[in-house]
């Protein structure tokens, strides 16, 4: 890897169609922001759908919500927020060129994210056991409102889509860890991959922060 004469920092190769590293960085970052904006629109529609359902069938919503375990939700909130913190630390570490700290924080973030998924997995298992599944799969018993299954439809769609995002985020972190953090020296001029993954992860956090009260606490 070539180094620049003035700073002595290892230089990242700029793709052919960009004029400068700054332009490349700005473009990548803006691209990520726009992508996140489109994600927000997508989840936003789901939230609107959930709120409308809440006004249509408030009783069903409450009853469904009461059968969710808010303690598990809280643990998961804790897991996600902590992983968000470690992702932030990873970015700071990358900016100041501390490669070891980058790797450590990435590993921690992945661990917390897996913790989230494990809890989610347990929750899903319980739901399957109780038969509180969406639509045609529903065989829950002892519910009063006929529309509780719609609540669970929403629950599975929303947490499922969010869980998918968690998985993708973990994949991206792993990619950062294995391919980037080991072959590229991050420094204050080049830390794009970590920064972008952290941005994405912030969105995953943010969505959960809205999902949690909506599904677990409103009832």
């Amino acid at each position: 890897m070539a180094t620049t004469a003035t700073t002595g920092l290892p230089e990242h190769h700029v793709a052919h169609h960009f004029d400068s590293a700054q332009q490349e960085f700005d473009s990548n970052k803006m691209g990520m922001w726009l992508f996140l904006a489109s994600e927000i629109m997508m989840f936003g529609a789901l939230f609107v759908g959930a709120l409308i359902f809440h006004t249509l069938h408030p009783a069903a919503f409450n009853e469904g919500s009461q059968h969710l375990d808010w303690r598990m939700g809280t643990i998961n909130t804790f897991f996600l927020l902590t992983s968000g913190l470690t992702m932030g630390l990873a970015v700071i570490a990358a900016q100041s060129g501390r490669q070891g700290a980058v790797r450590l924080n990435l590993v921690l973030s992945i661990l917390f994210a897996s913790g989230f998924l494990v809890v989610k997995f347990i929750e899903y298992k319980l739901k399957i056991h109780h038969g509180t599944l969406p639509g045609r799969l529903w065989h829950g018993e002892g519910f009063h409102d006929p529309y509780v299954h719609v609540f669970y439809g929403l629950y599975f769609v929303m947490t499922g889509l969010h869980g998918l995002h968690v998985l993708i985020g973990m994949g991206l972190m792993t990619w950062c860890l294995i391919f980037r953090a080991s072959s590229v020296q991050f420094n204050r001029k080049y830390f794009t991959p970590v920064e972008l993954v952290a941005l994405y992860w912030a969105l995953v956090d943010l969505i959960w922060v809205f999902l949690f009260p909506l599904l677990y606490l409103i009832g």
């Binding site: 169609h17 997508m42 069903a60 045609r136 719609v150």
Partner: protein, 534 residues
């Protein structure tokens, strides 16, 4: 380090072989592949229209059964919207032209660009598969609960639209970032050609509206498979919610469709009257204004659907504001002609048609947003005619004009001017004969999506069918003229039209691999034409 690539051979010849096209990240080649694919689907979608228009010759059975008829207009609508006009101008011409007009070497994310082409193809293949998977007959609007029949063809069509949506988001994202960050030295926002402004506005809508379509389709699919009960009234769901979601995307989508057409028209009118655009700022901002207003008017498709009165009230009110930026554009284009040096070349003929058709299409849109009147006109042929005036008569016409305009740049060949003009005139006559009568039969109360109609409407349907025969003749003539030029056309000069934007002044015809042999420096506005000295 990347091996040094010589940058003085034109992009068509820079690399050879089939594979070199399939794995290319060159925005120009991607644009060309998009163009070819989109035109194929335009012909396919048009063929469906052609066939069901023949069927409509009489209210009785000609050669299609009611089920086939329903399937045909569904396929026509879905193909035309999701595979032709929505990707249309941005993906085909935009891909080719945006970096050239900006003075950039490529789009910001070339690999993403190729990905979006592959997503388009994936969506296209799935859509084609749904043709053979059964009878998809849900209409392009896919209203629940009709679309919840678990009909496999319908499901495949939804999956296709899902991928096409992603393709569209990625294109928009790429353009927005490119326009923000990759302008050549001296290319300020207010020196950008208006085509770029229109791409900018379109990209905003693609990024913010399309995700809602994606989630709607996911919910529809889940509703079909598991009956989650969000849209299905039988399970406690709300079919009106589905319509809100659908139009939240599909109204902005109609501006995704037409705004690029505005951009092309601005380029054509200035280039062929050798005039600076009248009121650059107004025209540029009005594109963005349309993009923004377009997000809050979707409910005008649901005036009789059973949404609340308050919603009807607000949506009608907001809809009227779309008239203002549109009016600005129409008047400014007309004023641009004033004291110009107008040359009626083929692209200009299409641009003038655009003005004519768009005025009719837009004014019929306004009449539809008058609440009491829309209650009568909703879901009649009046609506059908309205949106063909804006989608076919405006957007596709601008698209075809743009293809003619940039053809020499893309292929390095000049087409035959005589046949080009003759085709343009046929298209104009054919289009208006087809669709003007539909306004009349619509306001007379003839519902759309009708296989079997009342006898009193037969004369209108017959005129319309004759129109489409003229229209198709014109379109095929235009197409053959363009294709013939590939073999017989004269070599195109660098700037055959004497236009002043970068792609004409700085790039070769066809351009070299990385567009420019040296980075252009911009010193003047896009339409800085000289004036005749008295």
């Amino acid at each position: 380090m990347i091996a040094h690539v010589t940058n003085n051979i034109n992009y068509l010849k820079a690399k050879r072989g089939f594979m070199s096209w399939l794995v290319t990240v060159d925005h120009k080649r991607i644009g060309v592949m998009y163009l070819a694919s989109i035109l194929c689907f335009f012909i396919l979608g048009g063929s469906f229209a052609f066939m069901f228009r023949l069927e409509l010759w009489s209210p009785l059975k000609e050669f299609l059964t009611p089920d086939q008829y329903n399937q045909f207009f569904t396929l026509h609508g879905v193909i035309m919207v999701f595979l032709v006009v929505v990707p249309g101008i941005p993906a085909a011409l935009g891909n080719f032209i945006v970096p050239l007009q900006l003075g950039a070497k490529d789009l910001a994310f070339p690999k993403l660009n190729l990905t979006s082409l592959y997503l388009y193809w994936l969506g296209a293949i799935i859509a084609l598969y749904s043709l053979v998977a059964g009878h998809a007959d849900q209409g392009w609007t896919m209203y629940a609960p009709y679309s919840l029949s678990r009909n496999p063809a319908v499901l495949w069509m939804m999956i296709a639209a899902f991928f096409l949506g992603f393709s569209s988001i990625l294109t928009g994202l790429n353009f927005l970032v490119t326009i923000h960050n990759m302008r050549a030295p001296g290319m300020t926002f207010f020196r950008m050609p208006l085509f770029l402004w229109s791409m900018y506005a379109t990209a905003i809508m693609q990024i913010f509206a399309t995700p809602v379509l994606a989630i709607t389709l996911v919910l529809l699919l889940l509703e079909n498979f598991f009956g989650i009960g969000i849209f299905d009234p039988a399970l406690g769901g709300d079919p009106i919610l589905m319509q809100h979601f659908f139009w939240f995307y599909s109204h902005p989508a109609v501006y995704i469709i037409v705004v690029p057409g505005f951009g092309i028209t601005s380029e054509l009118i200035t280039a062929f009257s050798k005039k600076d655009i009248f009121g650059y700022n107004f025209v540029a901002y009005s594109s963005v204004a349309i993009a923004i207003i377009g997000f809050v008017v979707w409910g005008h498709h649901m005036f009789v659907a059973g949404q609340s009165e308050l919603a009807d009230f607000l949506f009608s009110f907001l809809t009227f504001f779309t008239a203002i930026p549109s009016a600005i554009k129409v008047f400014n284009w007309t004023a641009t002609l004033y004291k110009g040096s107008i040359e009626l070349k083929t692209p200009m003929l299409y641009a003038l048609q655009f003005l004519f058709n768009f005025t009719i299409g837009g004014l019929t849109g306004i009449i539809l947003s008058i609440l009491s009147v829309d209650i009568h006109l909703h879901d009649t042929y009046f609506v059908v005619s309205h949106f063909h005036y804006v989608a076919m008569g405006s957007t596709m016409i601008a698209f075809i004009g743009g293809i003619h305009y940039w053809w020499p740049k893309m292929t390095g060949k000049m087409y035959n001017e005589f046949w080009g003009r003759a085709a343009a005139i046929l298209v104009f006559v054919g289009f208006n004969v087809t669709f003007f009568v539909q306004l009349v039969m619509g306001s007379q109360g003839s519902p759309r999506r009708y296989y079997h109609y009342m006898n009193e409407f037969q004369i209108y349907h017959q005129i319309s069918t004759i129109g489409v025969i003229i229209l198709a003749t014109g379109l095929f003539m235009a197409l053959f003229n363009l294709l013939a030029s590939l073999k017989f056309g004269a070599t195109a000069p660098k700037n055959p039209w004497g236009a002043r934007t970068l792609e004409w002044e700085e790039a070769d015809s066809p351009p070299v691999l990385y567009n420019f042999t040296k980075t252009p420096v911009v010193t003047h506005g896009p339409y800085a034409f000289d004036t005749e000295k008295a």
